[in-house]
């Protein structure tokens, strides 16, 4: 009989942590041939348009950054929470909370000086997302409610709350569609490069990578957050106020997701609609894992995903392969990454008995 034995191995050198995600991505791209062929797409043409669509022209390349910015923020949000083992699966709802806050502020802040509008909206969106994430954190720490379930369920509560508002008080006067009025001019993110949609939110997302890296590596809070994630009992025993750490972690995590919502609203849509997010919050989970919960890793994995999503549209147009190929590839990438990550910690041997 053939059996698999899994044994712990010596820690791999540092380069392996870079090589393994790249190997996972290459494996994913190779295995993507299966759904492409199933859809009857020409393999080389499909791969060509996948990359051409994402990177082939200046505009396409900048669009890839536009798409990457919400993914980067939700990815960071999930990574920051998972690092402390706060299982925040609610980035989608937190993103919507951020977009909702930005809408309310964006249509009503006409009275204050223009330069103050965006800072107020950004802070408001961050807080809205953070508070929406703090609810399950409080439920977890004070009432022992499972965070996976509560964060997930709150996504549905948020989407229906948004629906109720878009059919109610926030609905654009005279419209029968579930959409809000447009936000004021001063509430829009400036476009930073001509003939593109490369906007302020992309810089905010990149800045967030630096901030999270700094918090993780250089602050006491980052250390405590990690300690809670590694072993909550030991952390408690060591005098860390774990309740406070989880709460603050949730606040930052939800805040980042909220910023993703602000970006989508203030840079792209300018008004709140029901499908403001095509599941960025859920993609953030995959991106966080693929990036090994490290901010720089998350940066690269969000760019990879953005290439896949933007490229899949061109590929779909040119070869007829459904755009949902992007979701299939995302799912595959996660599972392959998981298996590859296993190799970093364990050795798998096939033994004959």
């Amino acid at each position: 009989m053939i059996r698999m034995r899994i044994t712990k191995r010596e820690p791999l050198p540092k380069w392996a942590r870079v090589v393994i995600p790249i190997a996972a991505i290459i494996t994913t791209l190779i295995l993507s041939a299966i759904p492409i062929l199933l859809a009857g797409g020409n393999l080389w043409k499909s791969y060509y348009y996948l990359f051409y669509g994402a990177l082939g022209t200046r505009f396409n390349l900048l669009e890839t950054f536009v798409k990457a910015s919400p993914l980067l923020l939700t990815g960071l949000a999930v990574a920051f929470a998972f690092r402390a083992k706060f299982w925040n699966i609610g980035a989608e709802g937190q993103l919507l909370a951020g977009a909702l806050a930005a809408t309310v502020l964006g249509v009503s802040l006409g009275g204050i000086p223009g330069v103050l509008v965006l800072p107020v909206i950004i802070i408001g969106g961050f807080l809205a997302g953070g508070i929406w994430a703090a609810i399950p954190a409080i439920l977890k720490t004070k009432l022992k409610v499972d965070d996976v379930v509560s964060t997930l369920l709150l996504n549905y509560v948020m989407i229906h709350m948004m629906g109720a508002l878009l059919f109610g008080p926030l609905q654009q006067p005279g419209s029968s569609w579930p959409r809000s009025s447009a936000i004021i001019e001063a509430a829009r993110y400036p476009i930073l490069l001509t003939k593109s949609r490369f906007h302020l939110g992309i810089l905010i997302a990149l800045l967030a990578v630096l901030v999270i890296w700094f918090i993780n590596k250089r602050t006491v809070f980052g250390y405590r957050s990690k300690a809670v994630g590694v072993n909550i009992r030991a952390a408690q025993f060591g005098g860390i106020n774990t309740t406070a750490v989880i709460l603050w972690t949730a606040l930052v995590s939800g805040g980042l997701a909220g910023l993703a919502g602000v970006g989508e609203l203030c840079a792209l849509q300018y008004r709140l609609i029901m499908d403001i997010s095509p599941g960025y919050g859920y993609s953030g989970i995959v991106i966080a894992m693929l990036g090994n919960l490290h901010p720089v890793g998350v940066l690269f994995s969000s760019l990879f995903f953005s290439v896949i999503i933007v490229g899949a549209h061109t590929m779909s147009r040119m070869t007829g392969v459904p755009t949902y190929i992007a979701e299939v590839i995302q799912g595959m990438a996660l599972m392959i990454m998981l298996i590859f990550l296993l190799f970093t910690e364990y050795r798998i041997r096939v033994v004959r008995k």
Partner: protein
């Protein structure tokens, strides 16, 4: 006249309650089986969606509803096996493996659907299951017609509740499953294969989840829509906790959720001047409230979330 409307309303509500509880019961029982053996299966939402899609697809292609249900069960088993490979054989994080399966299945379900049907302006439909009236019971005034004129799958779901209880509490197999979930080292010592037990529980649990999904496209509705599951998998996970990992209590949770879901459908129909989204929100909100009530005294299977690696002890 008023009395007549009231009776019709109650009967309709009872019927909707039973209908809406059905997928939750299937999925909750499947999840209980998995968790009792020590594995949290967060693939549930995706497995239900794949069950809903493949069941619909096969019924659309063959015209046979039961072949659709069977396909959904088999697809659920395959995804359960995949979950077992990741989380039991390889011992990866159960949280992440399950979410991976959900994300992968969601993409795959939509991909295959588009592949087969393209992007039709009117969604294709099948001739769905018909409701069956139980003799005598459906003649009970007021509640009878609603409660006992149901789909065969609904009766099957209720039949599975005692079956699962007996399996878990009264059989040797059930004892093995619970031991593996509570203390795998002990199970291993007395010669019960932890890996095999967990794998089987995930496979059978996956089948139940798949059937739960298929109920939504073959009985409750007659078409496949992308948001057909709409978080019912996550609700089922909440019901497992609410029911304290007990099949009967879990089913009671499911029926309460079914009641709320049915109520929101009925109230929408009555044309209240409140957005239907408020009604849609209520079941999810109250599920969270219910979890607050029970979570403090929940008795989680002791080895839930812990991968089992025999080798680690031997060094």
């Amino acid at each position: 006249m008023g009395e007549f409307i009231e009776a019709a309303f109650i009967s309709g509500l009872m019927g909707a309650m039973m209908r809406m509880a059905t997928p939750i019961i299937f999925a909750t029982l499947g999840e209980i089986l998995a968790e009792r053996s020590g594995v949290l299966n967060l693939g549930i939402e995706g497995i239900m969606l794949m069950g809903a899609m493949t069941g619909f697809l096969v019924t659309f292609g063959t015209g046979s509803l039961w072949l659709g249900v069977l396909t959904a069960a088999i697809v659920g088993m395959i995804l359960g096996l995949l979950m077992a490979f990741l989380s039991v054989n390889l011992g990866l994080s159960q949280h992440v493996s399950g979410l991976g399966i959900t994300l992968f299945s969601t993409g795959l379900a939509m991909f295959i659907y588009r592949l087969y049907f393209g992007s039709p302006t009117v969604p294709p439909i099948v001739q769905p299951f018909k409701q069956v009236s139980l003799p005598l019971l459906s003649k009970i005034p007021v509640i009878g017609p609603g409660l006992f004129t149901q789909y065969t799958l609904t009766y099957l779901a209720w039949l599975l509740v005692p079956v699962m209880s007996i399996l878990l509490y009264k059989t040797k197999m059930g004892l093995k499953i619970r031991t593996v979930g509570e203390n795998p080292v002990v199970a291993d010592t007395v010669g019960v294969s932890v890996i095999l037990t967990r794998t089987l529980c995930l496979i059978v649990g996956g089948a139940l989840m798949g059937v739960g999904g298929a109920f939504l496209t073959l009985a409750h509705q007659n078409m496949f829509l992308i948001d057909v599951i709409g978080g019912r998998g996550w609700v089922s996970i909440a019901m497992v906790i609410f029911g304290n990992w007990d099949p009967l209590k879990g089913a009671i949770g499911a029926i309460i959720f079914g009641f709320l879901d049915g109520l929101q459908l009925r109230l929408q129909g009555l044309g209240f001047h409140i957005s239907f989204h408020i009604f849609l929100m209520i079941p999810y909100l109250l599920t969270i409230v219910a979890l607050i009530g029970v979570s403090r005294k929940a008795s989680v299977p002791a080895s839930l979330l812990k991968p089992y690696r025999r080798e680690e002890k031997g060094g």
